[in-house]
C-alpha cells in the first residue's frame, strides 16, 4: 500500500524518466567506448565482461551514485515542498514505514538502472567478443553484486534527504560524499568500505575472498544504515 502510494506521488516529478534516461546514458558508455576504441580492448587477454567492466564501470558507477543521490533528494523534496509531510504524518503510517516505502521505490529504480546497464554490457560483449558460455551467469553475478553494494548508499542518501528540509542541503551532502568516495584509493580495504565508495567496486576484478568480504560489508552496512535511519526518524519525531 505504502509503496503504491509513493509511486503515485512520484507522478509528474520526472523520477522514472530520470532513471530511465540515466540508465540509457550509462548504457551508452560501454557501447561508445567499444565503438571508438575496440582494437585496444579486443587485444586484451581476459573474460569480456571483466574487460568491459574494467574499462567502463567507474564512469557508469559515478552516474549511478549521482542518480541515487538526486533521486533520494526528490523523494523527500516532494514531502517537504508545500508541507506535504504534515499531511503524511496524520495518516496511519509510521514515519519509518514511509522511509522504507521510499527505499523500496529507489531500490526498484536502481534495479531498472542496473538492468539497462546489464543489457548494454551483454550486448557489447556478444557484439564485439562473440557469444560465450556462461555469459548470463557472469553478468548476473556482477550486477547482483553491484545491487548489494549500492544498498548502503541508497539508504544513507535517503536518510540524509529525510533529515534535510531543504533539498540542496541533502544534495550538497550527497555530492560531497560522492566526491570523498572518488578520492579513496581502491587498494585500502578499510577506507574503501565507505558506503559511497562501495558501488565503484566490481565483482569480476576481485578475488573470491575479497568479493565475499565486500559482500559481507555491503550487507552489514545496509543493516547499519537502516538502523541509523530508523533512529534518526525516531529522535526527530520526539523533538517535533
Amino acid at each position: 500500500m505504502i509503496v503504491s502510494l509513493e509511486c503515485k506521488k512520484l507522478k509528474r516529478t520526472g523520477f522514472k524518466a530520470a532513471f530511465f534516461g540515466g540508465g540509457i546514458l550509462a548504457a551508452a558508455v560501454p557501447a561508445l567506448n567499444m565503438a571508438f576504441r575496440s582494437e585496444a580492448y579486443l587485444s586484451m587477454d581476459a573474460p569480456p565482461v571483466k574487460i568491459l567492466l574494467n574499462a567502463n564501470w567507474q564512469m557508469m558507477a559515478m552516474l549511478n551514485v549521482l542518480l541515487i543521490v538526486a533521486g533520494a533528494c526528490i523523494l523527500y523534496h516532494i514531502e517537504y515542498a508545500d508541507h506535504a509531510i504534515r499531511k503524511m504524518r496524520t495518516l496511519p503510517f509510521s514515519e519509518s514505514a514511509v522511509f522504507f516505502g521510499k527505499t523500496a521505490v529507489l531500490v526498484s529504480a536502481c534495479i531498472l538502472l542496473l538492468a539497462i546497464e546489464a543489457a548494454s554490457i551483454f550486448g557489447c560483449s556478444v557484439h564485439w567478443f562473440g557469444p560465450a558460455a556462461g555469459l548470463y551467469r557472469e553478468i548476473l553475478k556482477n550486477f547482483g553484486f553491484f545491487l548489494l553494494l549500492m544498498l548502503p548508499a541508497i539508504l544513507l542518501s535517503l536518510a540524509a534527504a529525510s533529515v534535510c528540509r531543504n533539498m540542496w542541503t541533502a544534495l550538497g551532502t550527497g555530492v560531497v560524499c560522492v566526491f570523498a568516495a572518488t578520492m579513496i584509493p581502491a587498494q585500502n580495504f578499510a577506507l574503501s568500505l565507505f558506503p559511497f565508495a562501495l558501488p565503484f567496486r566490481t565483482f569480476s576484478d576481485l578475488s573470491g575472498s575479497a568479493a565475499r568480504n565486500y559482500a559481507i560489508a555491503g550487507a552489514a552496512e545496509t543493516v547499519g544504515a537502516a538502523a541509523l535511519a530508523i533512529l534518526i526518524l525516531k529522535i526527530r519525531r520526539s523533538f517535533e
Binding site: T13, G21, A81, W168, L171, V175, V176, F179
Partner: protein, 256 residues
Amino acid sequence: MNFASLIGVEWGKLRRSKIFLILVLATVILWTPSVLNSELNFGMQAEGISPENNFFIQGFLAMTWFLFPAVMIVITVLQIQTERTDHGILKMLSLPVRTTKLCMAKFAVLVLFAAIQILMSVGTYYISAAVASHIQSYDFLLPPLFVFREAGMIWASSIPMLAVFWLLAVCIQTPIFSIGTGLASIVPSVLMINTKAWFAYPMAYPFFVITSEYGRLAANFSTAEIDLIPWLPTAALITAACLTVSCLRFGQAERR
C-alpha cells in the same frame, strides 16, 4: 534599484543557508588526502614534475574535475529553491525591477560563489601545504603570484560552465532533470578534454585549463595546449546564448 544593491539582496537571501558549511567540508575533504599522502609527491620523477608543483596540481585537478562543478550545481539548486519555497519568486516579480536584471543578479551571485569556493581552496591549499612541508621537512609552498594566477584562470574559464548550469536551473522546471542533467554533464568531461572538440564543452573548461597546466609543469608529460582561437569565441558565444535564453525564460512559468 541598481544592480549592485540587487546583488546585495540576492546575497542576503543565501547568507543564512549554511552553504558555507558544505563549501568548507568539501575543501577539507579535498586537501586532507593530499596531506596524508604527501610522500607520494616525491615519486614523480617519471613525469618530471617537482614535488611542490605536483602537490598543488593534484589537488586542483581533483577539485576541477568533479567537486567544483558539482558544488556549483548545488548552489544553483539553492538559488532556485530559495525562490520557489513559499512562492518567494512571486514577490520578487512584483517588484519594479526588470526580470533580466533579477536573473543577471542571481547569476552574478553564482559567479561570486565560484570565486569564493576557489579562494577557499587556495586558502586550504596554503594551510595543507604548510602542514605537509612540516611533516616532510620539504618546502611545498608555491609563490602566491603563481597560485593566484592559476586560481584566476580556473575562475575565468568556469564562467561559461556556470552559464550552462544557470540555464539548466532556470529552464528546466522539474528539479530532478536540472540536477540530473547538470551532474551527468560533469562525468564525460574526462573524455572530452582528450578530444579535439574540447572547446565546445564548457563543463570541461576548468579541468582542461588545469590539465594543460600539468603538462606545462611536468617535463615528460604532454597534454593538449590551450588554443585561444577556437576556444575564446566559442566560449563567449555559449555564455552569451545561455545567459540570453535564461534571462528570457526567467520567471516565465510563474508569470503564466
